[in-house]
Symmetry: none
Subunit: 414 residues, 2 copies
């Protein structure tokens, strides 16, 4: 028997009074290097409120986001936290990019990362980034394309097209229509001096991929003439062309009505992929926690996302990452005013300041509930979490532990 099936069969309806909160400090995990005094930002930060939570009794551990040594992007990092195997449920770059730009996707939509490029008179790519045109130019060109191209394809099997500008030369194209499927190959020749490639189905027998490839070709046929007069951005490349995967709905999978409290579009988009309700408005972690208090009775599960730990990790700014943790800690008492019955605080991966990027180092996790017991640790830190009762485990199991702590699982066997 598949383990997911077993979990599903054992899942009981939640006692409606219990609330579960998954609080994600993006890129929280870090490493202790000599250069930064052999402490991590989490260890260096003053965190009286987290400390008090730990003193109240928590279980700690560390989580492998995907597999040993694998560094996840935000997509796999969050899918794993939402309990989906990130290798089984892969989300195309186009879809992630579209979500990141705040485009509302439906299941089956095909999305592509696109960027303007420069073509010579023979159609050969001379600059794959169109001289990195300013964002305003990109926005103007995307508005032009969007105004002129609403649909492609023959009558009766038309495909809707949506275009959303990104930064500099980047944008996103979404195709919506019955039977579309991905992936299809990129139109990027990968180096200058070659003409645009043709998007081809990954599987030549797939009717859905053929339809998508045709939609891409039709889109080029309409769009290229519109860009003809552009000095630099007279062409574009499309990559990561894939459809939004069928992901089992969060509510069906866990029997939990879930809400997302995120500020950045990417994380809202990822929550939306699994069917969480987006609660819009809050801009700060304090406002997100306030909103949790306000919405507490309407949902079972809250995904609360805090971006700044990752942002400053990416900058390699130890002090700022430490301060971001302290700011988070200062807001925490708002959440704890009506403490979730099951509270997990963790990251979606590590973003060590020394690496200035996401990494594979297992992120620390803290789990608090009436049945979490106490690991008798003083604080929530990477080094402390190494000693915790949760051990080292795959992040996709965190939500199962949360369900267990919410007493949602029946006994297995007699």
């Amino acid at each position: 028997m598949n383990l997911d099936t077993l979990y599903s069969e054992l899942t009981l309806t939640l006692d409606t009074r219990a609330k579960l909160a998954l609080v994600v400090l993006d890129g929280l995990g870090d490493i202790a290097t000599k250069g930064q005094g052999e402490v991590t930002p989490l260890e260096a930060a003053r965190t009286p409120n987290l400390d008090a939570l730990v003193a109240d009794g928590c279980a700690q551990g560390r989580m492998i986001p995907v597999a040993p040594g694998i560094t996840p992007g935000s997509g796999p990092g969050h899918l794993s936290l939402f309990g989906y195997d990130p290798i089984e449920f892969q989300v195309g770059r186009g879809v992630i990019e579209a979500l990141g730009l705040g485009v509302e996707l439906r299941a089956g939509d095909v999305a592509a990362r696109a960027n303007f490029c420069t073509l010579d008179s023979a159609g050969v790519v001379t600059d794959r980034r169109a001289g990195r045109i300013p964002t305003e130019t990109c926005e103007e060109l995307c508005a032009l394309l969007a105004r002129k191209i609403k649909k492609v394809g023959a009558k009766g099997s038309e495909v809707e097209v949506r275009i959303q500008a990104g930064k500099e030369h980047r944008f996103v194209v979404v195709f919506r229509g019955a039977g579309l499927e991905g992936p299809v190959s990129s139109t990027d020749p990968n180096r200058e001096g070659l003409p645009l490639a043709t998007a081809e189905p990954a599987d030549a027998r797939s009717a859905g991929q053929k339809k998508t490839a045709k939609a891409v070709a039709d889109f080029y046929k309409k769009a290229l003439p519109l860009l003809g007069g552009q000095p630099k951005a007279n062409g574009f490349l499309m990559r990561g062309i894939a459809h939004q995967p069928q992901i089992p709905w969060f509510a069906d999978r866990y029997r939990l009505k879930a809400a997302c409290l995120a500020v950045y579009p990417m994380y809202k988009g990822l929550a939306q992929l699994v069917g969480m309700t987006k609660l819009e408005g809050p801009q700060t972690i304090a406002e997100q926690f306030e909103r949790y208090l306000a919405e507490r009775e309407r949902y079972d599960f809250f995904f609360i996302h805090y971006k700044y730990t990752d942002k400053y990790g990416e900058d390699g700014n130890f002090e700022a990452k430490k301060r971001a943790i302290e700011d988070f800690d200062a807001a925490l008492p708002i959440l704890l005013r009506k403490r979730p019955e099951v509270l997990a605080i963790t990251g979606d991966h590590s973003t060590p300041c020394a690496l200035k990027s996401h990494s594979w180092h297992p992120q620390p996790v803290l789990l608090h509930s009436a049945v979490s017991g106490s690991d008798k640790l003083d604080r929530f830190t990477e080094t402390g979490a190494n000693l915790g009762s949760l051990g080292l485990f795959e992040a996709k199991y965190l939500i199962r532990l949360m369900q267990a702590h919410a007493r949602m699982f029946d006994k297995f066997g007699a």
Copy 2:
């Protein structure tokens, strides 16, 4: 998607300046028993150089060589360290034995463990070990067989035969020829009082196994008459008859050009199985490290094997195992003169003195790189490793962690 495929897709070509070293103290792991003062040899040893390495910042953990409770032989222990699932990639006993005796095997060669036995006039086995004849007798008999039998089989489909004496009654027979395959069943009746069994294909439809079974039968037909005059060793048994498996080449799998610095034939053979280059000559760990310095620029990855920790563990000699660790530690500064960018020090399994044999107890592992961070432990020991950030994990992932620390993996997903 298979995890190996994912790793493969994410693998980047190594920045050629980075060097990876996997240093294996065979059977390093041990257990702390009351009888030996509740410390392990690694804990009891004076290891100033390992201590300094730890102080410089290391990640530690413990590794399960195969699966919980499974005690590996040297074959699975090392295949696991080389990143191959030791259950998926099984190497026949004959192949391991041949490697252990220094026989050079090619892919497709079939090898068998053999040993002399005593047969009565009716061909019944009366002593399965031929009274444990002295090694010299075994060597003489093997020389006789090797001189008289170069090939078996009919003209046009001949099979080459190689014979290599081992200790006491033991020897190895290798068959080399197009289309040979294993496994075929043993000729050992498993108890005295029965005649020799016939080697049969494991799968009756396999032409390759049939050919091997025929070669074994032909070999008996030629060899038994040659042994007719022997008082004790007038017959022999053949077991573990299997071909050298097709194992994906180390260089293809990890994009690392690998060299082996081992003294004992078995470990050279295991390295050769996966395509590492054997660097011959060094006899001591100091010489092995010196050779690493000399060859450093020619390879990306060095497998350095140290035997004595296992040897003294097998003897149950705590003091000698402790001293073997101290000798290793004394040589370590040579390696560190040009410190590998990614350095792992571990065992292939535990060989606790109290057990006088290999065991299933997870072996400790230390990983040092610019991005290993520090676990803030004082020393490298079994008890300390229990507290490390690497946690408890399957040994087959160690090489993936080493690749990650060498920054060889692309980010997974956006």
